[in-house]
Symmetry: C2
Subunit: 475 residues, 2 copies
């Protein structure tokens, strides 16, 4: 344990509290490379004894380091330096501020300070029917009675739950009742809800590799261990998942268009996944964030529509079909789990979205604006996708390929070599364009290089051409 | 381990899945008294071997039982029957549906299906300036641009954070900047946020006894152990807290008006609490849910205003000063923790409230409606409090006393004997009146009997008199 040796005694008389001194030293040790990714740090008990400080002091320093992603608490296996910390250049000065786990590294790449062209996950905000929305909103506000000021029902307004159930029946082939629909503030909340209702700390969960990094982070936050399972042209490799962790309690998947590679989970794989879940008494979270957007054929029915054994928890969101600022999503649970989710939800996930938002969305849906909007967007996105792909290709001029994808909200521009995408994404950002580096979506060291280019929100053909040209010049 | 012996082998051919059979058996064993509160159940491994089933099957059954409050997972100490399960009458038939932990027992008492007179935590909905609200809302909706449709900034709209900071400065004496304010969807979210940012599973947290039961439940859900600390006429007994668990990492307190007994945390106690936190490197969550409502003197400054060592996390909510359906609350963190909360919040607690709600509240505050509304309510609640107390006393006709309280939103009607309040509350509920049983607020077996009677939302004097009379007739 190199760190212990490197430590001189802490200085109780310094103005900085002891835990903070300790915290800084661990960060410095990581920065200096004395402690590398995966290295185990001394137990709080041992270090406290060594330093002659209270164990709570060490525990606090460790807790801070864990919360910031420097360390990872592994229960009985001890506490280790986060294996996903970016490897540091050996000559790097020990500047703690420069250290972040890979997933937190590129905050500005994940969500820039302002909306940029090609930014991931943003629907066509310019085309949202704001006037209709304002009209429904004003009508709700004018008609608001005292009952509307009270807590909304714990699991969502009945009108909204029922509108969602009807929509899913028609659009996604899911046969569910309104009582199976639980309203949440976002996909992250839905995932937390599932984790709290069905899983125990220490259990394992399959995640797609590559896959949406916040899924891994959220699972870890709740004491679960994400197990990255590779995807191939048929989507999640279920057999590999079983070989890696057949006893996992959960699988988090994006069957419609894999996030970020956009292939569809094939029917045999869907069946294999459901069979595994039924046999292993495990659960599947279906993240259907962009299932509506399919351009080459009809949208596929959701995985949940095939679920005969009640293993699939379906998660949907209004962020991509209405707008992200709405903070409204939902979870559909199998009939047999309704009572469990009602109980668990009543405490931790109840009534977290304002009655006003829920009521306006319910009206928007039942009065037909929702279906109309999605249809319009599907057509518009098909056009924007073709336009963006063509302009990108012109700019690239053959030096890299835009991968074809049957649906979704972004294109994938594969790049040669490894992790060249990070520097490229930063260069694009400096030019006011968002291109998310594919390498940061991998959990395994494979880290194929590429750029994710969203085409749904407004961007001009000349911007896309400039994007392509900039990539070409950098290769 | 009596349960093991009582089990006959599970029947794999039955239509019910094995985990469900197991789940039902454990519930039945608890109902029959074979397993009592605090009893340890066999490890999943042992039971799986005994029954010849997969360990995952047992784990799932246990997970369900934990999520429903029957069992409590205690890490290495094993899994036990929830010690807070209501003791059952020995003659009770083993009907699982009748079993709920004390805290989940009286769902309809906690939050009736519809708003009832005297219901706890509901402000004067009849007096909320709905017209002003509708006007501000419609104005926001009309002016909404594409930027307003994007994700709101992760920790809240700057205008709202800054309005909250200014308000707290003036009204609660807290010297904080807008960047220290984090917007959340409710008090529960604020507490989760603190737990995730600063605590580790297994750590202990002081809670007031009696105290708000959801605080205990939320802490337990996150793997923390609530340590009930008694309150006396000066509020939380800090010396007792130190004796019980001096190494706790957190104390959750209601300094303005203790919830539910309404005394104020005295100045020496405030100092002792802050001294303990600084010395033990621990944190204090100040739950100031009704600090604005003081009738006999000026509202006291918040505990956070005395905090010289950056140990207090201040939590406020708009549920009680605007209306519960708004789902908007906030957390104010010490300067030194801002970066930590920004990092942790970005992943799990970011952007959970709609931009629309935040924007309307910011306007409501900066345009002076908020301060005016609170002033009006303070006056109105003072009147309703006097009116309700007098009418209750007439109905009670001397058979029980209404405790005086300097502020808050409810009166306490102390009852003789133990836990007679539960049956009484149910009788009141049947008459369309909400009176929350004090006994369910205790964590310790003390369980003094009483009824909590809110006076803030509309209720007539004759209703209060009927309430008092009903109590008198039942004693």
């Amino acid at each position: 344990m190199p760190m212990l040796d490197a430590f001189s005694p802490l200085a109780p008389q310094e103005s900085e509290p002891l835990y903070r001194q300790l915290y800084n030293r661990v960060r410095a040790a990581i920065a200096a490379g004395t402690l590398g990714p995966g290295d185990r740090v001394p137990s709080a008990r041992a270090l406290a004894k060594e330093q002659g400080v209270a164990r709570g002091t060490v525990e606090l320093a460790y807790a801070l380091l864990v919360s910031e992603g420097y360390l990872l608490a592994r229960g009985q296996a001890g506490t280790v330096v986060n294996p996903e910390l970016q490897p540091m250049a050996p000559s790097a000065a020990p500047r703690p501020a420069a250290l972040q786990p890979a997933e937190q590294m590129q905050d500005s790449l994940w969500r820039p300070a302002q909306l940029l062209p090609f930014q991931m996950g943003v629907p066509a905000l310019d085309e949202f029917p704001r006037k209709t929305w304002a009209r429904l909103g004003a009508r709700y506000l004018r008609g608001m009675g005292t009952a509307d000021l009270d807590y909304p029902p714990p699991h969502g307004l009945p009108a909204l739950r029922s509108a969602i159930a009807s929509y899913l029946q028609v659009a996604r082939g899911i046969d569910c009742g309104a009582h199976q629909v639980f309203v949440t503030t976002g996909w992250g909340s839905s995932l937390q809800f599932v984790a709290h209702a069905l899983l125990q700390p220490g259990e394992r969960a399959w995640v797609e590799d590559p896959g949406y990094p916040p899924a891994r982070q959220t699972l870890r936050k709740f004491g679960l261990t994400p197990v990255p399972v590779p995807v191939d042209e048929d989507g999640l490799d279920v057999a590999r998942g079983i070989a890696l962790a057949g006893d996992a309690r959960l699988a988090v998947v994006t069957p419609a268009h894999q996030s970020p590679l956009s292939m569809t989970l094939s029917l045999p794989r869907r069946q294999a996944l459901l069979d595994w879940a039924a046999a292993a008494d495990s659960w599947v979270v279906e993240d259907d964030y962009d299932g509506e957007y399919r351009y080459v054929s009809r949208p596929l029915p959701a995985l949940a529509s095939l679920d005969r054994h009640g293993r699939v928890l379906y998660t949907g969101t209004f962020s991509k079909v209405l707008f992200p600022g709405i903070r409204l999503a939902y979870l559909v649970v199998p009939q047999a789990l309704v009572a469990t989710f009602e109980r668990v939800g009543r405490m931790l996930f109840a009534a977290t979205t304002p009655a006003m938002t829920q009521a306006i969305v319910a009206d928007f849906m039942t009065e037909g604006h929702f279906a109309r909007h999605i249809q319009r967007m599907r057509r518009l996105y098909g056009e924007r996708r073709a336009l963006t792909a063509a302009a990108l290709a012109r700019g690239l001029n053959g030096c890299a390929q835009v991968a074809p994808a049957p649906g979704g909200m972004h294109l994938l521009l594969r790049l040669p070599g490894q992790a060249t995408d990070l520097a490229l994404a930063e260069r694009l950002l400096a030019q006011g364009m968002a291109g998310q580096p594919l390498s940061s979506w991998w959990a395994s060291p494979r880290r194929d290089s590429g750029l994710l280019v969203s085409f749904t929100n407004c961007a001009t053909a000349s911007q896309a051409e400039r994007f392509g040209a900039l990539v070409r010049q950098s290769l």
